[in-house]
Symmetry: C3
Subunit: 138 residues, 3 copies
Amino acid sequence: MPVITEFLHVKTEGNTDIINITNAIEAIIKKHEIKEGMMAVSVIGSTASITNIEYEPGLLLDFPEMLEKIAPSNIVYNHDKKWHDANGYAHLRASLLGNSKNYGIYNNELQIGMWQQIILVDFDNKPRVRKVVLQVVM
Amino acid sequence: MPVITEFLHVKTEGNTDIINITNAIEAIIKKHEIKEGMMAVSVIGSTASITNIEYEPGLLLDFPEMLEKIAPSNIVYNHDKKWHDANGYAHLRASLLGNSKNYGIYNNELQIGMWQQIILVDFDNKPRVRKVVLQVVM
Amino acid sequence: MPVITEFLHVKTEGNTDIINITNAIEAIIKKHEIKEGMMAVSVIGSTASITNIEYEPGLLLDFPEMLEKIAPSNIVYNHDKKWHDANGYAHLRASLLGNSKNYGIYNNELQIGMWQQIILVDFDNKPRVRKVVLQVVM
């Protein structure tokens, strides 16, 4: 079997909480002694996304502010009128940003930049425990 | 050969038509009896995307409305001035949302949430038959 | 080892420079005589993205204009106040569009449309040499 599957269970505060999962991913690469591999990182659910950012305090404010302009949290969406869970904006942001990203592993190292971290973004309007799927083909 | 390739041919109405392809994907997983695998889903073409959504009537209105604000369909873009096909907005939305997503398969099950469906979104301004590429490494 | 890893080093002008990397990718597919495979294309760094577009002059104007509305380059972001590198907008665009995409290879051919090209977009505010990671499982 050339495919490795691992799961991360990540506690979030919701409300566009941005969690740096880079270290957890690098620990798995080390644990399995992966020299070269294609990795996919995906999150389960329709109100969360995986993407990258330079994980520093400025962008942790700027990124949610940009998303607030694209899909404001104070609009009553058709989704909210029907289901009354007030998280229509969370669904829209997750559909826009997507559930998954790919990263290379080469020479035992995750192929990301010095200022590039892999993040889980939880858009839902309450704390959640998110399940992230890590798969590597090696 | 550890890679399986399958194609879906999906009829759409265009105009940001949102098609739920989750059942078709799960049928392929079952057909090949895939226990564990890394899956990539991509769509061929420059005016369509693959993403996820909770496939319910409210969000099927909200998601196109959000995209209408980001890349309005009633603007004459530089693309339209040159090619006169009036689908500049469709290209922009497809480039923004992307052609592909990854999903895990584990314990014979697609690793998505209860309210998370995989969708093909066709932004072009006319009905099309779209070719979706499904690949699994197992 | 069923995974092939190759790197492209791409010179860019920055400032949302859009580089067509399709030919370089197809040359690698040909070099390795890949008949069938799952490909992931990712870029290293937090101010660049991989996506698709019909690579024609109209859209090369329209796509940056759309992104200028979403994350304007003339705003002083929190990131810029802290780090004084004036590229906050570049980070935001990269986080939104993502670092990676998947493409299928089948019958020795990259599974993309006639008007669909794979692009590297460099959002940073200066010329860079970008490292693109190409991986194929075959």
